[in-house]
Structure formats: structure tokens, C-alpha cells
């Protein structure tokens, strides 16, 4: 995969079962201890909106913002944005001051207490640079997470939704 080319992580929440596989895969990939969770899964519900229960799970990770507040706030220049859009914290520059955590409107950066440095999703930049999928998407057991160029990912989502509609009306 080209370093300059942008990629997108597609999250199809309708397929998320809250198994936390993505979160554990991320921790193994980045050798993180218990505590910081760059990928989280949040359970919503069950709610009872119309007399029937509804429950879903949302996978939450860094949005890799176009204008990331964490990058602007970082006093040492550790938090950076790559040309391909990935926002990451360079461990050799990070002093663990957590200014980025305060600046981020989504509360994404967390302190890795073992290293004294910030842990956040870096889009698996080292894997992506080698042409590999990010660990979370690769190991997701239900296909909730997938990865590719933005146009291909959107095309995939559209096609899947269209097929779901067609198949739901077809007689099996």
C-alpha cells in the first residue's frame, strides 16, 4: 500500500457483536498493558423504543481528524499527522503530559502507565507501510471492520447494503 495514499477503516456496526476482538488485537499489536484501550467497543442498550428491545455495539477509535486538535496542542511535536492522514504519537518525543488527551474532543489519547507515554490508535502505520491491514480489521470475527481505499470501502458498503435489500425481498 502506498504511504501517501489514504485509506479508510470501515465500521459496519450492524455486524458488531461486542466481542472486543479488535481491542485485544490492537493491544497485542502495540504491546500495551491493561489500561489504555485505543479501540473500544461500547454497548448501547437494550433500549425499548417501540415496545421491542434494541441493542447495538459501537466500535470507537481515533477518527484521525483532518485538523486534529491533539496535534496542535502537543507541546513537543510528538503528536503528528502523516500525509496519508494517520495521526500518531511518536514515542521518542512524547513526554506523557497528556495535553493531547485534554485537547481531543473525543477523549481518544490515553496514558500508557507502563511506558509513561501516550497510547492511541496510529492506524497500524507500521503494518500499513508494509502493505498489511490494521490488526483490528484483520482479526474482527464478524467482518464488522474492513479496510481499503475510501472509494473502494464506500463502494463495498453500498453494494452490501443493496444486496441486503435485494435478498431480504427475495424468496429463499
Amino acid at each position: 500500500m502506498n504511504k501517501q495514499r489514504k485509506h479508510a477503516l470501515m465500521i459496519d456496526s450492524s455486524r458488531c457483536i461486542g466481542c472486543h476482538s479488535c481491542g485485544v488485537a490492537c493491544k497485542m499489536e502495540h504491546e500495551l498493558p491493561a489500561g489504555p484501550r485505543p479501540v473500544k467497543v461500547i454497548q448501547i442498550g437494550p433500549l425499548d423504543p417501540n415496545g421491542s428491545l434494541v441493542m447495538r455495539f459501537e466500535t470507537v477509535t481515533c477518527f484521525h481528524c483532518d485538523r486534529p486538535a491533539c496535534v496542535s496542542a502537543c507541546p513537543t511535536g510528538a503528536m503528528q499527522k502523516r500525509p496519508d492522514g494517520l495521526v500518531f504519537s511518536e514515542p521518542s518525543l512524547c513526554i506523557g503530559c497528556q495535553t493531547c488527551a485534554v485537547a481531543c474532543p473525543f477523549g481518544i489519547p490515553e496514558l500508557n502507565p507502563a511506558a509513561g507515554k501516550i497510547a492511541k490508535c496510529d492506524g497500524c502505520r507500521d503494518r500499513v507501510d508494509r502493505g498489511l491491514w490494521p490488526a483490528c480489521a484483520l482479526k474482527c470475527p464478524t467482518g464488522c471492520l474492513s479496510y481499503g481505499s475510501p472509494s473502494r470501502v464506500v463502494q463495498d458498503l453500498r453494494t452490501r447494503e443493496a444486496l441486503t435489500v435485494v435478498r431480504s425481498v427475495a424468496v429463499r
Binding site: S21, V24, R127, G131, P141, T142, R172
Partner: protein, 665 residues
Amino acid sequence: MVDYKPLNRFPGTRKEFDRQVESVCQECTVGCGLTVFLQDEAIADVQGIEHHLVSRGRLCSRGIAFAQGLRHPRRITIPASRNTLTQAFEASVSWEKALDLFAERLRRVRDREGAASLVIGCDPEAGLDFYVGARRFARLWGTPHVYHPWETPKATQDLPLKTPTAPCTQWVKSSCLLLVEADLAATHPVAFGWVLDAQTDGAKVIVVDTRFNVTMSKADLSLVIRPGAGNLFGLYLMKAILEENLQHAEALAANLELTPDWQTAYDALSWEALEPATGISREALINVVRFLAGKSSATIITGKRLEHSHSHGIWLTLCTAMGWTAKSDSGWYPLETGIPGFNCDSDIELPAADSIPPRAGFFPYQPFDTRGRKLAFKALIASGNCLADFFLPLRSQLRDAELVAFFGAFPNITCEQSHVVFPAAAWAERDGLFCSNDRALQWADRIATPADACRSGLDFWSGLAQRFGWQEYFPWFKKNGRADPVAFYEWLLRRSPDTHGCDLSRIRATDELLFWPADTEKLVRQQPPIFVSNNGKLRPTQPPAEITPMETSASEDMYPLAYQSTRVVSRSTDAAKWWPWTAELEDEKAVQIHPDTAQILGIENGDEVVVAGSRTCIEGRAWLSRMVDRRMIWSPQRLDETRVRVHKKGQTGEDALNLLKADSA
């Protein structure tokens, strides 16, 4: 026609490694393919095998996090012993010395209390070899008391064998999937991916369970039933299908041995008893029938719990009556029935079989003998954390036990109650045969070298048997004090008519999945299974003469809430509770209470609560959720009770009871 091509996956590792091992994950019974990368014998990365037919490169949290358990700082890696439970453990000089000591103490207990005073608990975590070794040792010893959650009544074992079920990869071809008390999303996440694929492909997913769980949240149609009513729901489904004449007439006539009173028995089943017994209305049940009716292919997936209650065979009867059996895209898929029925000890003649007192029943463990007398064991050999799991009823009986041995990996509750500790090798540290839910046989290569003195279950039993002069019955024992797993599994495959013709070298050499009983030379069974008549047709399961509503017990008044404990997604075995990555994901102390019930009792989210039954209780933190209904409590913690009351710490059970009664009034 839309030509859909999924996104290309780009697998691999970026970590440095000096060797890699392909094996099979054994955290659950799906059997996902693993590639493990090691650097200096430490696991550097774990990836799924992309070309694996079932897992397709995917893994769940347990299948990734197992690596944390192998070099965990609290792992038990050396044998230890103590004379009494109040003393501290002393490390043994060696495994051999520890076995010598244990064998001597065990011999003394037998001399004083008799052979049947020994009970053995086999946790799945200890492996198939531990269970088989335990069965052989117990047979030689003369005790019938070997328990394992995989054990099923003989009749239940035979049921699914008569109709080979399509593997989970075929669910995508089904028109409808009915899951009954099978929370696949929590217990087998990778297999649940196939359910979602089927749903995307247009299949309807119906989930029937005792609480609104994750699997149910993905269903097209869902029903919450009372605990223990799963098979009864199946009987009523059959009744509704027969009343509406929706059965597959040709399949019915060809495959079921119909007796004149067969349909009459269903006619006699009272519709009035449906709602009190199952908690669902007739309209809701008919709605399920509408989904199922006319489907040429459907798969019914049932949970392990159903196996231990009455009329379990209804699911096979139902599938047969609807023409869904013996097809590649449908049928009955009972969970956790992937282990062939091995004759582990039929070659052992002494002591005579009739000199060993029979057990009162199959799993789950019942603390009574066949005459209803309470059992009193003096020695226990326990693996995993069975005293906090299926051996919970045994804990109170162990006060008089003279000797408890623990074969496990972490200092859990079972370890705390033991006199002798033997460190167990994890599944990733031993070679072995893996039997999946799909009845696929896969060879799982050892991933890492066992830590310090950790050994396999086969090593343990072979070593112990040697000390009693029974080495000829454990011929896989080698001079170095270890057992040969390849020779053992070659022998084991010959010990079942379903795997007799299987060639272990072929299983070890191939990437393909080999299923049993296909590709085997089936032996003629000595006795016909009781559910199959002599003409080969299935004897249909009939409903009982009378349905007893569940809310009739005397304890209902004192303990008005039903209690249920099931597995959570991040933990399958006791070991998973010790891995930091999975330990932080879900609160093991959580106690789910319906918000309305909690309001009556004055309980708020996060409150410390006590869940008490008539004999035992647990403590936990309140999690107010509509996943449970108003009259149910759920927690991952095991409790040897089915009826409970719950109250906030500082209050009493009577207070809670009065509040609930006042509200009902």
C-alpha cells in the same frame, strides 16, 4: 445480477520472529486456525490462518489473548504440597517426587475409605487427554466418579450421530436459522460470523433464549423464554406445525417411525400450559412457525443446556418432520457435541465392572448416590477451576476431604482448597487432537515449550498409574517420564466406531478439515441406539403426558427471582480470567437486574448487591439492564441456585422480599 467481491484482506505480521507455528485455537470448540510467530520462544504475534475454512483468518479476543497466559507472573509452574489447608504450600523438589508423595497419600485414603471415595473433576481446560486418562485411572482404581461437562447421556450422544449435521460454513445456504438457548455471539464469536453472513445473504435468523443477549440483538425475530423451557418450546413448535399441517409429509413418512398415538400425544398437549410453562404466548409461537413454514432448508442450533433437560430429541424430530435432515444446507446443530463417543476404558477388565458402584446420573454432578444417600468423598482430583464451576455442589461436601489434588495453571479457588498442586501445561503447550463443534478433526501442534515443570494431563495420569503398577494400561508413557501424544491419539481414534478408520498421519498432514464419522470404517454397533428403531427410522420424541408449570415450587415465594449464569465473550476458561487484556473487558462481578425490579428494591447502577439463594450467595455490582426480564437475575458468577432474591448490601433478604411482595400486591 450484482457481482460482489469482498475487499481484499492483506494479512501478515510486522513483528520480528525466528519461527512460526500453525495450530488450532482451543479456547472454544470452533477450532480456528492460528499462525503464531515466536521470537526467542516468546510469542511475538498471533494471526489467523487466512485459508482456514471455518475461521478465514479471523480470531476472537480469547484466541488472541491466550498468549498472555503462558508467561503470566502468577502462573503455577512447579508442583507444591501441604499437609493441611491452613498451611502454606511448599514447593516440591520435582514432578516425580510430588507424584510419589501424592500416590502414597491417595493409597492411604483408599485403604481407609475405599476406592469409591475418590472423585475426579475434569475441566475442559485440562484437555481431552486429561479426561481420557482420568476415565482409565478411575476404572483401574474402582471409582465411577469422573465428571466432565462434555459428558452427555448415552441417549443424547446417539441422537445427533444419526443425522450428520452440516458444518457452520454451510449455514450461509440455509433459508432460516433458529437458535435456541445458544448465545453464539458470546460463546463462539467466529462461528457467529457465519450466522451474520447467512443473514446478509437473506436468511432469517430467529433467536429464542432466556434473556435478551447479544445473539438475540442481531435476530430478525426473537423470543424470551423461561429458563429451562427450551425443549418444551420445541415440543409446542412441533404441535403447532402438526396442527397447521405444515410438516413435510414425505420426509415424515420416510424417516420417522410413526405410531398411532404419536400425533395424539401432541394433540393432548395443552395450549393453556404454554404460557405458564415457557413464558411465551401462543401468538408469538405461531409467529415463529410462520417464519419456519415452507422453508426447504433451515438449521436449528441448540445450546448445551438443553441437553440435560427432558425431550432433547424434539429438535431432531422437528428437523426430520420438516425434511431438513441429512441435507448439506440444513439440519440440527447441537452445540458442544463434537467429541466422538470414545470407549476409554472398555479394555480394562479388573476390577470387575459390577464391583464398582454405579453413579446416580450423568453430568451435571449430583451429590447423591443411586439410593438417594448423600455422597461423602474423601479424595478429589480437580482440574481447571471446577470447584467454582460444575463442582460447586461438591464444595460444601469437601470439609471432610482428606486429600485434594489440583491440576491447573493459576491459583484459583480450586487451588486454594487443595493439598497438592500439579502445574498443568496450557493447550498451547501440548500437541493434541482437536475435535470441533463441526465434528472436524484437526491436529493442534504445540506452540510453545511448557513453562518449568508444567505437564499435560496425559503425563499426569500416566505417571500416577505407573506408581500403582498400571503402566501397561498407559502404554504411551516414555522412559523420560512423558507420554507420547501421537501414539495416544492414534490409540484413541481406534477407540470409537466413529473414528476407527481415521488416519492420524493424514489428519496431521492435511490443511483440510476431516470430519467424523465420514471417511471412517464404521463398526457395527453392538446395541442399536435407543432412539433408532430396527428398521432405521427415527423414533419421534413425544411430549410428556402433563406439562407442569414452573411456578409451582415452594421456594418461589421465598426466592421470587430466577438466577442464571452464562459465559461472557472475553472468558471461556478459568485461565482467561487471569489475562490482563481480557480481564479488563467485562466485569466478572456484574449482576444484571431489570431496571424496574431494581427501582422496587432501591438498587442503583453500580451498587454492591448480594444475590442469595436458599443455600449459598454471591456478591457483586448491580448492572441495571433490560437484557434480563423483571423476574430474572444474571451474572457471569456461578451460583448453585436457580431461585434467588437480591438486595443491596446493608439490607436484608427479607427487606427485599417484602418490597417485591408489596409491589406485586
